[in-house]
């Protein structure tokens, strides 16, 4: 066991593959050199944006979430597939989910939303230069689109009884960007 470094992968098995992600089981080296098993979601990533209109207003979606059995206020977000370019996915989601095209995209950075069970990285942008487009929802999506002042959007995201963690993290990335002296 002497050549095995802690947390080194020994093998990977894809247990379930579907249209959105793969569910995998890795055998790996634990910190004492013994072998452990790790079950997880293998996901290329996700992309989200904070739309900002010239008047400072933004757009939230109010989306039904099957797994939680309720509706959530969220920034428009979508999942990547293997080989996708993150910015292209963010643009596509803003168009298909919220019905807007953006011409000016500013990266805000990224975070790991669910570090213990998924390798997903969620990428965030500010989307400006917005114009109306055609919403195209999936059969699995039920949502309404709401334009409102940014302060009201913050309140809806933060004050809902059970918040969407990815949108809360997006707000933190926005505030980090604003704290560097940038302005909307």
């Amino acid at each position: 066991m002497t050549d095995r470094k802690p947390f080194q992968r020994l093998s990977r098995e894809v247990l379930v593959e579907n249209a959105f992600h793969r569910y995998c089981m890795d055998r790996y080296v634990q910190k004492d050199g013994s072998e452990g098993v790790y079950y997880y979601v293998d996901m290329p990533g996700s992309c989200a944006c904070i739309p900002v209109f010239d008047d400072g207003s933004t757009v939230l979606v109010h989306q039904h979430r099957y797994l939680l059995g309720g509706d959530f206020w969220e920034f428009p977000t979508g999942g990547m597939k293997v080989g996708d370019d993150p910015l292209m996915v963010a643009m596509k989601e803003l168009r298909e989910e919220a019905g807007f095209c953006g011409s000016d995209w500013t990266p805000l950075g990224h975070f790991a939303p669910y570090k213990g069970v998924s390798n997903e990285i969620c990428h965030y942008w500010i989307a400006r230069g917005l114009s109306e487009s055609q919403q195209e929802l999936e059969l699995s999506e039920q949502l309404t689109v709401h334009r409102m002042p940014m302060a009201e959007a913050r309140r809806r995201l933060i004050d809902q009884e059970c918040a969407d963690g990815q949108s809360l993290s997006g707000l933190v990335l926005l505030d980090r960007w604003l704290a560097k002296g940038n302005q909307l």
Copy 2:
């Protein structure tokens, strides 16, 4: 199909069961009445705390995350098992991960960290009345414990190149609580 409501579950199959969660496949009714398939992680929940000492300092863990291949600054967090009481899990994690006992726990609320693929709800507390205890790490855990001023902890959580989304969301819940006139 007339009696089927959108997003009604038709069946659930547990595809993989392990010590931490279940990976499931549901058949459900999509919004046009047709049948869809949903693959997801079924997880009783997670619990985290923001430790606060009498001098206003806090504790972060710097933890290796196998799935992301790197180290993350995080608040102490742990997963629940079926039947667990959230507060008991938060107390246990603070003790086992960070090596502190807290006597005064203030709930900050909860959020859904990964709404599209997991039904997990993450519960957050402020932990005060802290005293040193005995750290007990798992073989899968590699982390160091760091006490620092709250402002420095915010900086480490927010400024890391890839942040831990659950800790960012915890900061938002803390700020929501502070904005109501509460004080640390």
